[in-house]
Point group: C2
Chain length 370, copies 2
């Protein structure tokens, strides 16, 4: 699809009361939409993005020039069919692609930086509901998300039960585990160890904490892939040399192995499109996520009386949010008497399977949205 030159933005009329107790005023939500909203406003699908995702779901990313992150899933005649549905994707609060976040100016004209309040997944959802209000959409045909997007989908179902008729949560969890928190903490420490981070006040500096952010991304990226997938994709293969000849060990610290080169590329590419403080805030929101805790310690209570239909999808090679986490949600939905279907798909790509070529996922998504 053609890139849009300016992001669609809505500024929420009311301040948001956050889980922290703080309020956030003048919140702007940047979003993209695809397809047409019906007169009855009953054909909207909200797609929620993951940690480092954005609203460029099915259109070219303005910074990278790359296709939208779910072009394979969203478009005319695709599983999320834009000939039929009005598909919305909004940048979450705390992020850096037009929605209010740490890089946004506060009342004094300076960026919030670390003055930005710590937010939660529910706070992100409050922002999304504000966007739906602004668009006049009382109830979504469906809310859909993978990874952190799935957390938002579940949170919306739990906290705003009338706002979505269908909830599709892919490769996600109802709470961050100790290991999930640990990996995020490594990333945060990598950013905060970078002197260019400067306690978050780097926006006016020539240098940004790109070295720390790249390390954070590299560590996280390993968790998005499966061990078997890494072995198949890279194994112990060496990089070809600059002159095109076959690789050999350098007995130095250059990227000898293809997997090293790939990780460095992932790390450095990421720093060109993402803000380090946003990474801190969004990982914190994910670590704080525990849907049961918000609802008296019982996950079933989060979904009590829901009329929505749910679909949970996990991948057998996902060790970040393994199938057991989806099953835990399914059991809670069963206990709440909700309509729920669940499928574990076989795919070799680990957690990233939800973004990649998994035809079985296409069929599940298309079928559930009928």
């Amino acid at each position: 699809m053609a890139p849009q030159t300016a992001p669609n933005q809505v500024t929420l009329p009311a301040s948001l009361l956050l889980d922290s107790g703080e309020t956030l005023a003048g919140v702007t939500i940047a979003y993209e939409s695809y397809g047409s909203l019906s007169a009855a406003k009953d054909n909207a699908i909200l797609v929620c993005h993951a940690l480092t995702g954005d609203q460029y779901l099915a259109s070219t990313h303005p910074l990278t020039g790359k296709p939208g992150w779910w072009e394979r899933m969203v478009g005319p005649d695709k599983p999320i069919d834009t000939d039929r549905f009005f598909v919305i994707c909004a940048n979450v609060i705390g992020s850096c692609m037009g929605t209010t976040g740490p890089a946004s100016p506060t009342a004094d004209g300076q960026p919030y930086a670390m003055r930005f309040p710590v937010i939660t997944i529910r706070d992100m959802v409050r922002g999304l509901v504000g966007l739906l209000d602004g668009l006049g959409i009382a109830q979504l045909h469906a809310v859909v998300g993978g990874s952190m997007g799935g957390m938002q989908a579940l949170s919306l179902a739990a906290n705003f039960p009338d706002r979505a008729a269908r909830v599709l949560a892919i490769a996600t969890t109802a709470r961050h585990s100790a290991q999930n928190i640990a990996f995020h903490e490594v990333g945060r420490q990598a950013i905060m160890a970078d002197p260019a981070w400067a306690d978050g006040d780097y926006y006016a500096q020539a240098q940004r904490p790109i070295a720390g952010l790249a390390v954070a991304r590299m560590a996280a990226h390993i968790t998005y892939l499966s061990e078997a997938g890494l072995t198949e994709k890279f194994g112990r293969r060496l990089q070809d040399k600059a002159d095109g000849s076959a690789g050999a060990k350098s007995f130095g610290f250059d990227a000898d192995f293809q997997v090293e080169s790939y990780l460095r590329y992932q790390g450095s590419g990421f720093t060109r499109r993402f803000d380090a403080n946003s990474y801190l805030y969004i990982t914190r929101a994910m670590d704080y996520f525990d849907l049961a805790e918000e609802h008296g310690g019982q996950l079933a209570k989060a979904f009590a009386g829901t009329a929505a239909r749910f679909c949970l999808v996990s991948f057998d090679s996902d060790w970040l949010y393994p199938t057991a986490e989806s099953r835990h949600v399914v059991h809670a939905l069963n206990a709440a008497g909700a309509a729920v279907s669940f499928v574990e798909l076989s795919a070799p790509f680990g957690h990233d399977s939800f973004l990649l070529d998994v035809p079985a996922l296409d069929r599940v998504v298309k079928g559930f949205l009928e």
Copy 2:
């Protein structure tokens, strides 16, 4: 056992020819020993240490004041019985506890730093064999090691087949996988991203790259533990507050979760006893390790004609070097006609199980050394 105030050291009479083709002259090997060498010099057991280990196997670490890292396994009447065996543990080449490494002075009086040659596991073993020569030990009763120590044990068996009658390799692998390399690369990038690293020339500086080294340790540490172990040990439990009251989310970036606090502690403690350049060199050696590649691409060839008895031990919760890696070695030993026993032990601690309280491991070790 009582700490020794000065390390035992041997300086090798000949230069070492390394796998890189470079030579390393004047190599000093620092070691500790426990028990007494028999007159026939036939009761020696060499224990090889892991990545961040050292020779303080069963005696107090001079920097940390902590007990030896395998006190539970090595001592009078323990599975590696020092009443019976002469037990040796040497700091590997490239490390930083007295053996020649990047922090050691070169001929010009300055530390090697990044002028130190890139070494391999086999180079470490060459150093260990030099030590055995110096001690007059023609054949070990056994070589024993966990993790990188197991790599050394296998490498010694393959490259110096007459030097050990028994080979006990625990929680290890014959080659580093793409995922193993990826995690190490994150650690190296974290160190090299630290401005205090200064291309490795930090020894004369007031500041050392402790922030980067701590991040490297944190990332690696997650891989040493199992997801289930982390959940049992920490779960989502919050830190108690400084005043002793029950923890609550701070809505900030302090260590709210116990697992965050634990990781930070692991990271910072490590920097007080380990050299960042040593971390670079030793992880590189591990990533280069591929015992089959050294022997014509067939692992069985590495063990052709061996007369040693082998024992491989893996742990069911170890996802760093999972059971499949040990089984791969066992199959090669079977193909080579070697005498081999293999056991997968059940233990909840992940890769670190080999260091922790696993009574079944004690029995296996004791039985194999009979």
